[in-house]
Amino acid sequence: MTDIVLKTENLTKRYGGVHALEGANFELRKGEHVAIMGDNGAGKSTFVRQITAVEQRTSGQVWFDGKEVNFTGPIEAREAGIETVFQNLALADDLDVPSNLFLGREKVLFNLGPFSILDRKYMRKATEAALVRTAVKIPNLSNTIRHMSGGQRQCVAIARTATFASKLIIMDEPTAALGVQETAQVENIIRTLKDNGEPLILISHNMRQVFDLCDRIVVFRRGRIVANLRKENTDGQDIVSYITGAKTGEAELAA
Amino acid sequence: AKIGVSMAKFDDNFLTVLRNGMIAQAKGMSGVELQVEDAQNDVAKQLDQIKNFAASGVDAIIVNPVDTSATQAMSDAAAAAKIPLVYVNRQPVNVDTLPDNQAFVASNEADSGTLETKEVCRLFKEAGKKEANVYVIMGELSNQAAVQRTKDIEEVIATPDCSFIKIIDKQTSNWDRDQAQNLMTNWLSTGKKFDGVIANNDESAIGAIQAMKAANIDMKTVVVGGVDATQDALVAMQAGDLKVTVFQDAAGQGAGALDAALKLSKGEKVERKVYVPFQLVTPANIDKFLKKN
């Protein structure tokens, strides 16, 4: 039990009459990279939003890092060590790239509480370094995020997550808008995380990517977890049949 | 001569008459140029206007103070710029310490509410009332005239002579006819018996009258009093709806203030204080006032 980083029991979320997530039981071990797949609207992002406390769950329990947690908001989740790339990216449109990268944890020169002086030079340098890792091209870092292309925005969000140390990284469709090169780079970043033993939850619709990067694949369908398979025991065809509902049933548990 | 004028507000019936009195006077003279500003009931704006006049180099300034206790700063500003200053209509708080080239032309605000209430009291007695219940409609609560007139009403009612009058409730209409009308209708919905309405101004009195008429109340049975003697009020009085109002010689004050300002600008001496009395208006003497305001 001690090597379990994240565990949920019966996690459920309803929006009015919509049963978006129903009794999800999920486990993630140290150093493990797990993929979540499923149709659009299957409840994947909802699952992430419950864990990170962007929303309050309807019922169920969550354990993180050995203890039961009841985060009241995303700040607490983040402070506990969960870094997330949300599907909607969570960027401030009117700020420039460095400000977004360091949003909420600015580097300061002097600590004067809220009126701490920012270390703008440092943040700019660090941003350049972080972006180089994603291979994205951004002509002018001082332009506001509003004026960035879809892929550029996504890379900023990924760079932000990869820059700060954490106990668990969650990425919700991180490469959806990325080009060929950038996707390859981001996959490299994920591999590095794997090598460093950092656990990760990756939501993706890309079968190749999932099989390349993850140890285990969890399939969501209509708000329920319908499969939980080790990569070795399955293949793309199999996964698809779970996604579409051709195969059903609370699937054989992988270890 | 260039004269700067700062009026407390433009959309006030009475002050408009005062202002027009001043303008009419100026038109009749040659070489007198009036620059009239609207302080929009804001003390600070008024002080700034005086400084703007100073920057434009006017020969004298006439101020209709928004607030009579804010005049010290105005006197100082004008004195610093060495420009004569005349206060009009409202008595400045620093009246006893005015510099040599400053004066004022005003009425004693304490009289208006007193005259009004005494007449209402007299009418009740004339009708043989042993007990009379009245509603009081106040003006804007942050306005001194409203505060003063309400105080006058209460003081008159406190005298043994008129102590048979009881105030059921007093509320504000912010000088406004529509709000007074709504307020009166709200009072009527309580079903309380009442004998009169004493309002801080004519507009509020008329609003109350309209509400009572809408509720089919016989206007002969109630005494309604106002202040200002506006045209609308005089017509209401002719119709027998309004029983009492109080006249203040607005045009006369305006003209007097301009006179004083011109004299001061030429370096002549003028009377320091000019009081223009309030006058009670009743159906008996209404004809005297029909053409005035």
């Binding site: 009459g17 049963h19 978006a20 | 959309d11 006030d12 019936n13 529509d178 209708t185 309209q210």
Partner: protein, 358 residues
Amino acid sequence: MAQTSHGVGGVSYDAKKRTWPAEFNVFLALVILVVIFELIGRVFLGDSFLFNTRSDVAGLFNEARLQIIILQVSIVGIIAIGVTQVIITGGIDLSSGSIVGATAMIAMSFAQVATVNGNPNPKAMFLAQGWTDLPVMVPLLVAVGCGLLAGLVNGALIAYTRIPPFIATLGMMVTARGIAKWWSKGQPISFPTESFAAIGKGLMPVIIFLSLAVLFQLIMTYTRYGKHCYAIGSNEDAARMSGIKIANHKILVYVIAGILAALAAVVLSSKNLTAQAGMGVMYELDAIAMAVIGGVSLSGGRGSIVGTVIGSLIFGVIISGFTFLRLDAYYQEMVKGVIIVGAVVLDQWRQRMRALRA
């Protein structure tokens, strides 16, 4: 899980779990407020707020009070109908109060009688021109014209120059108030014709308010105009890319708001038998507050006329309740602010509770 439906495929959807219309919350706030006044009245005054306790009149309710509650908010309510549409499109209208002032002055000067008590009307603007005792259509059309013009200027500024509605209508607010004062150089304009005076008599303001509310609620729900209001307020860029003619629509919305403000001016000046330059001061804020209390979102895209009507009733109940309790005038304003905030807090709180419980 009971009966579930699946919409277009996908996750379970429990169709029985209907979401309450947002207006319900506001209505609840209204009811709570009434109950509070009723209770305080019974306990402390031994009198009833809503019910009839008099022997000299018949009926279960205190009809006079029911009438004044809505009568006193009808005029601002008419404005609020237009303001609601403006806010739903993501705009704001600060000019409505001043449009009321200017329109009342201008329209009233075409509605005056020639003689009062046998004397020539002392306040007649166009006595010399002989424009007195005109048919009621003249001041009405003049008013609509004023409202239309003001709305057109607002709308065109916002649509074509892309300046924020706050600024465009703030400019109009200042300018229209200036026009109101200038029109008769600060003098009130009084003594309208019988037919003009009939517009605001008795419960006419209430009838006009409620008819307009029903009309525009239907328009907002069932017509393309309404749909586009919500679309623009929700995401103006998306609406533009989807081919909605944003400029035309915005102009139309502000014109409607302007005309409604002008109608309010007619009703107001007719009800009071006078027009004054200071009329309508702060009405814009009351109208906006009614809309927001009624659930209209200031960021656009959400709200309804029904909500605004309930919001206006909350205002009416507050005003009448205070007079009923004979609350000292000095405390009234303080308490009014608290109640406005309280009504919206209650609304928010219920919405959050619902979201959590869901």
